[in-house]
């Protein structure tokens, strides 16, 4: 851990008579009691105060990425994370994992946790499906298992969460910072806001409003101090075409300290391994077609994965970019969605009664499974977060800040991306993933990329070779009038860098020139095995990911990494 360069907050007025003093920005820091001052620092760090809390756009004057260093870390050690830039501890994790408390899964919490740790993860989120049985039994019953696992595997952070059936939409991960009320808050959230529990999954304005209310509930629970933090990320967002662009925007705007992103890549990445030795399905189980519940504007292309990634993320100039071009912070992740794993050798415990017990009996040794489409947590998909410490809050803060990059199959080991003033070559200078560089208009700006290449074999026993890195640049054009917009016309691959083999670390830089208008940059890289012109045309993305072939896509032979964006705002 090193120093942290300081950003300045621009706390906009947010006062009210019923607001506690730490939340009331009309009360200066100096007038707070030490306890209140500490509380304010915490809220500010968590992005829950002032501009960080209110802003749904980087244009509005900063967001959670500008959190100052936390000063009450809830853990110690580095958990195997690698502080490759000397500033952050990079911790790999997975926020989408099922256990025997899901009706379509089977493993114990500790089974998932032990594998996650062995596969190199530092943090995981247990996300069993929300439904009537789970809200009644599972959400409480899983907690002692999680608490026990935290004690047993001390260098792994284990969050309790939920796979939320978002009213009117798809699934999403919801998770909270551990604490005395973690179960109570999750249970109340699930009971009141889960689409399966309440029969509100079908699309309608009323159900969309319930989803918004659920997100606001979580934010309120944090502000009421019942929990230390809560996050929501949309899972497999394009799988069924039911997450419309206006819903994604509305979630984010409902509370940008809670609704922070989506799976850039879905789980189930083994599902497209060819039969008979594999499931022979669509990669990520993306194999559906439009239904009456789908957003009618989505093209058929959105129902398939592209290089293992969701169409919203994989399309340069597509839905994700349309949010970033608005200046709307919205981050991507990559997870296992592990239910039942490919080449597993266990089966559900005999004599299980899921409905009565809220869980399956502990798994037992069983026949080899070649028809399951999931990897263990960390085996294939990883979400890397740049935390300021190893700890529950620090990881959530880092996710909220968007200091996140994702990879498949261990394609790279580390990523340090910066946008900096041309004359500022100090390590750690400028803005990194999820951040914003504010400059005087006309200042010369450069993007720098330092990438640690894979040096050891991945979990398929080969050393992945990064072949190409693409830098994607787009103008920030401000709020859209049509909330269902899912294109960003100015965004394109601005530069591509070939990676010469045989090196441990590669560095690239790309001058943005004298920046006189708001823009953003993001990065993507590939093993170069499969590519095709992007959906917006070869002029936008000459060598993008190719659509995955149903039943014939080996995930180990088509590896990509993606970074979250950095904005440049001239004034």
């Amino acid at each position: 851990m090193g120093h942290h360069h300081h950003h300045h907050h621009h706390d906009h007025a947010a006062s009210g008579a019923d607001v506690p003093a730490p939340l009331d920005l009309s009360v200066p820091d100096a007038e707070l009691s030490p306890t209140e001052a500490s509380r304010r620092t915490f809220l500010r760090n968590a992005g829950l105060l002032g501009a960080g809390a209110a802003a749904s756009s980087v244009l509005a004057g900063g967001h959670a990425a500008h959190a100052a260093p936390a000063n009450d870390h809830s853990g110690g050690g580095t958990g195997g994370g690698q502080a490759n830039d000397g500033e952050f501890v990079w911790l790999a994790g997975d926020h989408h994992i099922h256990t025997q408390y899901s009706s379509d899964a089977m493993y114990r919490v500790v089974d998932q946790a032990k594998h996650a740790r062995a596969y190199g993860l530092d943090w995981i989120v247990i996300t069993d499906h929300g439904n009537a049985t789970h809200s009644r039994i599972g959400v409480e019953k899983v907690n002692p298992d999680i608490v026990e696992t935290r004690k047993e595997i001390k260098d792994l952070l284990v969050y309790q969460g939920l796979e939320w059936n978002i009213p009117s939409a798809e699934h999403g991960t919801v998770f909270v910072q551990p604490g005395p009320n973690e179960v109570a808050v999750l249970k109340q959230f699930e009971t009141d806001y889960d689409g399966s529990v309440n029969g509100t999954s079908s699309p309608s304005p009323e159900n969309e409003a319930l989803a918004i209310a659920g997100i606001k509930f979580l934010g309120d629970e944090v502000r009421r101090r019942r929990i230390g933090g809560a996050l929501f990320l949309a899972n497999h967002p394009s799988r069924r075409g039911v997450d419309s662009p206006h819903e994604v925007r509305a979630w984010r705007d409902a509370d940008p300290t809670v609704a922070v992103g989506m799976e850039g890549a879905p789980g189930h990445q083994a599902s497209s391994l060819p039969a008979p030795n594999g499931p022979g399905r669509g990669r990520g189980y993306y194999e559906g077609s439009p239904s009456a519940a789908s957003f009618p504007g989505y093209p058929l292309e959105s129902y398939r994965t592209w290089g293992g990634f969701d169409w919203m993320t994989s399309t340069v100039g597509g839905l994700w970019d349309s949010l970033l071009a608005e200046g709307k912070p919205w981050w991507i992740s990559a997870n296992s969605d592990s239910h039942i794993n490919y080449l597993g050798t266990s089966m559900r415990g005999p004599d299980s009664d899921f409905n009565a017990n809220g869980k399956y009996n502990d798994p037992v040794y069983g026949p080899l499974i070649t028809t399951a489409g999931d990897f263990w947590p960390g085996q294939y998909s990883r979400t890397h977060v740049g935390a300021q410490a190893f700890g529950y809050r620090a990881v959530m803060d880092a996710i909220r800040a968007g200091r996140v990059w994702v990879d498949h199959g261990g394609l790279i080991r580390g990523l340090d991306m910066r946008v900096r003033r041309l004359n500022d070559q100090r390590p750690g200078a400028g803005a990194t993933l999820g951040g914003t560089l504010k400059i005087k208009s006309g200042t010369s700006v450069v993007v720098t990329l330092d990438i640690d290449l894979a040096t050891v074999p991945n979990w398929a026993q080969f050393v992945p070779k990064l072949a190409r890195v693409d830098l994607i640049v787009g103008d920030v054009t401000g709020p859209v009038t049509d909330q269902d917009t899912f294109t960003a016309p100015t965004t394109r691959v601005a530069a591509s860098f070939e990676v010469q083999p045989g090196r441990k670390r590669v560095s690239f830089s790309y001058p943005l020139g004298r920046v006189d208008r708001p823009m953003y940059v993001r990065v993507r890289g590939t093993d170069g095995n499969r590519s095709a012109p992007g959906l917006m045309g070869a002029a936008v993305d000459p060598h993008g990911p190719a659509m995955d072939v149903l039943g014939d896509a080996d995930p180990w032979l088509d590896l990509w990494f993606y970074g979250n964006p950095i904005w440049v705002l001239p004034s």
Binding site: S103, D104, R239, A292, D552
Partner: protein
């Protein structure tokens, strides 16, 4: 032109240029599978020669699947469309008649589209007029099509079109799968 025929209640009749009537009906089916089930089991569409029966995704007054039927020799009596779904039934009939949209479940030759056929055979055996790859490319006539015994072409610009994707080296298959993995599936 939209006609209301008294003996069919609110079911909607329209006339195509070739004078084949197109009937729209909407019973609020939740998804394609439910609509197809109704077509097979209730209407008995398999026994109606020359029939083209389509499903249509409709968002109002609530998301559901409407149905259109076009048969040269007429259709059996069909149940009445509930009043609130009449616009959906009208929409389905209009879309079918104009060839703008509609996913064909029954059409001449559908029963011959089983196993693996070439593109040329598929066009020869059935009423499908065009096979394209997702993205617009046109496959060669000799390209094998893995039908999965489930071929659902759709109306695009007046042409009954099958959209396909690659399913392996040199092989294509319909974009739509008969058995997509459902969400929260109990996979074992």
């Amino acid at each position: 032109m939209v006609l209301r025929q008294p003996d069919l209640g609110p079911a909607i009749l329209t006339a195509t240029a070739t004078a084949v009537t197109v009937i729209g009906i909407s019973l609020g089916h939740a998804d394609d599978a439910a609509a197809e089930h109704w077509l097979h089991d209730v209407v008995g569409v398999a026994d109606l020669p020359g029939l083209v029966a389509c499903t249509h995704l409709v968002r109002t007054p609530r998301p559901h699947v409407a149905i259109s039927l076009a048969a040269p020799d007429g259709l059996p009596d069909l149940p009445a469309t509930p009043a609130d779904l009449v616009p959906a039934a009208e929409l389905a009939a209009d879309e079918h008649r104009a060839g703008r949209s509609g996913r064909a479940v029954r059409y001449p030759g559908v029963d011959r589209l089983v196993g693996t056929l070439t593109v040329a055979e598929l066009l020869d055996f059935s009423a499908i007029e065009q096979v394209i790859m997702l993205g617009g490319a046109v496959p060669e006539p000799e390209t094998p099509v893995q039908t999965r015994d489930f071929v659902r072409p759709q109306w695009i610009n007046g042409v009954l079109t099958l959209i396909t994707t690659a399913v392996g080296p040199g092989r294509i298959g319909p974009f739509e799968l008969p058995d997509p993995t459902p969400c929260c599936a109990d996979k074992h």
